[in-house]
């Protein structure tokens, strides 16, 4: 039989914690593995390849449900690569959006940090910029 492993061997081969390997089967992301007479999970090479696939997809920022979708494509090679490209492009756009958000965040905070003397005096532009006492939102009359 092509590599029948217990869960720790499979988890090492897949590069995932055993907990995560069990979890992925629990939520039905990957099919539940066969069991030994004593109830131990038996993983074969094909299962491990699926786990590796999921690990890499997760590293790419795909959510579990996106992984589910990708696994469907991965298993059904008759599907067009256009589907895969669509999903990956969507993910790419999300990444780019997140990058822009992080950029403006970074710039604004860097501006505050630059303006901060960083000495022992209590007046701090960072605190003020975050909405401190000098920046009351609205208290007329």
């Amino acid at each position: 039989m092509p590599g029948s492993m217990n869960i720790s061997a499979a988890s090492k081969a897949a590069g995932l914690p055993a907990k995560t390997v069990r979890y992925y089967a629990d939520i039905g992301l990957v099919p539940a593995p066969a069991r030994s007479q004593a109830g131990y999970r038996n993983y074969d090479d094909a299962s491990v390849r699926k786990l590796v696939f999921v690990r890499r997809a997760r590293e790419f920022g795909f959510s579990i449900s996106e992984c589910r979708e990708l696994l469907g494509l991965y298993q059904d090679r008759r599907r067009s690569s256009a589907d895969v490209k669509r999903i990956a492009t969507l993910r790419l756009k999300k990444i780019a959006k997140k990058q822009h958000e992080l950029q403006s965040l970074h710039d604004e905070l860097a501006h505050l940090v630059d303006a901060c003397r960083g000495d022992d005096r209590p007046d701090c532009p960072i605190i003020n910029g975050l909405g401190g006492p000098g920046d009351r939102p609205c208290s007329p009359s």
Copy 2:
């Protein structure tokens, strides 16, 4: 009394959902507000300012515990602005690190998307690049 509001007024003034306003008091991030005879929470302007402070800090990516720390500085103006600068600089570094991670992620995925024809043929570089059948990790002999 300077603006005694119920929770919905305070939440509007602070720009936070009422649920979140309650939550912040529950976890002790902000002090628990006074109550009316019927048990309604009463917020004053100072409380609202603290909530605004927290909201802005959260928007800057500070975690709740970092907000806790910052609130301590915000309330104790005797503390040096160096402390604030240190915390903000740390956060700035984390943001920059995340940016780099996102960048390499983006580049790698974009490379795969570029290589993908996006047609109806089943051979997809994205799937392969994610560890598909053509990319077996290790199965010698």
